[in-house]
Symmetry: none
Subunit: 225 residues, 2 copies
DNA sequence: ATATTGAGTTCACAATTTCTTAATATATCG
DNA sequence: CGATATATTAAGAAATTGTGAACTCAATAT
């Protein structure tokens, strides 16, 4: 079976490991475990997990050290690392952020929170999700062929137009703020004028000839059929 | 409203406030500001932010004092508080964390670090409870789609109307003071006349066609079904 | 080397919607 | 009943989006 993702759990307390393993396995993740710092590094290299959960307090290199060592390697530059922190150990939060951890989970571990947090992280990881063909009524959007069809008739869209349409249509009904759109399509640091989005929206509406993008004044745009 | 989260910034240096406001607004956060300690406490109570950024050095109660006062109140037990510290003031880091702050950011503020830190904090908060569809009887309010439904029939609300309805419906039965409403929907630095709220309330009642907002004379409004 | 093309952006202004105000009517409470 | 608060209405202000045209910049064709 195709696992949702591979997760490495490193903690020296077997109980904790088991709680986490049980809950995440149940959710369809593939689990690898380690019980000390050196082991964690070893296993990480071998199994190349998508996500690593590191206990801060571990024998033979603590979590922060492991994180630093892994982060120094190109292979783990983009791996998501999450710390397990005891509640008492407040200051390590700060330290962790600087070291390059992406999130924290506090002990004692609540299975419900754990699972939702992990889900959220994987959602975030998959920012370039499966390029899937979207079909809604008589509209078809194929990100692989980079083409849109209305009533099986191809419509030629420019790159930005296509990206914009695909973004909106990927979550029909959901309102995308102008800011969100800018971040997703143009990127965080690109600055374009206020009217640029409108112009692209217009082009899409024009070219498709169907009314599938609704303006939510003062908020953004949403896809609706 | 469709904001990712609400942040209160308290600092007596307008420049700093503006830098932070600009960068976080761009990221889709809703910003409320204060320029001294007392003001910060006031604004915190009124607007109930998810995160509070406190400058340590402020007139009329410094950041640590503000933090202590807020932390003593149940409403702010779980609010994330972050200190702004001058680099010189090393010792206050420790003090701050002891007081119950969750993190600190050093001045001068680097926008990039600021943003990533705030993002990380919000990921940690896991603020799922917000941004949730509200369903009460035959009324449905979906903040993601920015749409309200009565008997499964969509009702088009303007931005302010929607925000207002969502606010009231988020805590059915609870009375919202006019002041609270102003701070939550308009923000603390916007001044609008007394009758403005009434007009929006009226529009909501009119558009929904159902009687779900009750006037509490001399106090405010509440949602009731 | 020069023209052509088209995507992407910007601009000025028009069109539209939303928000606020002001004025008046109505309701409520002691 | 009288004082105060809210409801209602219409109209003008303010804000936001739509639009046509022009401009920049590459890539491509001539």
């Amino acid at each position: 079976m195709n696992a949702k993702g591979k997760i490495l759990i490193a903690d020296d307390e077997p109980d904790i490991v088991e709680i986490i393993r049980y809950n995440l396995t149940k959710e369809g993740y593939e689990i690898v475990t380690a019980n000390n710092g050196d082991d964690a590094i070893q296993k990480a290299k071998l199994s190349q997990p998508d996500l690593i959960i590191l206990d801060i307090m571990m024998p033979r290199k603590n979590g922060v050290e492991v994180c630093e060592i892994l982060r120094a390697q190109p292979a783990f530059k983009d791996t998501v690392i999450v710390f397990l922190t005891a509640l008492s150990d407040e200051s390590s939060h700060v330290k962790g952020l600087e070291t390059g951890a992406d999130d924290y989970i506090s002990k004692p571990v609540s299975p419900k929170i754990l699972v939702s947090r992990i889900h959220a992280i994987f959602r975030r990881i998959n920012k370039e999700p499966e390029e899937k063909v979207i079909k809604i009524d008589n509209l078809e959007i194929d990100p692989v062929k980079f083409e849109a069809k209305v009533d099986s008739k191809a419509v030629v869209l420019a790159k930005k137009e296509f990206e914009l349409l695909y973004l909106l249509a990927s979550k029909p009904g959901r309102v995308f703020l102008r800011n969100e759109i800018l971040n997703q399509i143009w990127g965080n640091d690109v600055i374009v004028g206020d009217r640029t989005i409108d112009v692209h929206i217009r082009k899409i509406r024009q070219k498709l000839g169907i009314d599938c993008i609704t303006t939510v004044k003062g908020v953004g745009y949403k896809f609706t059929m």
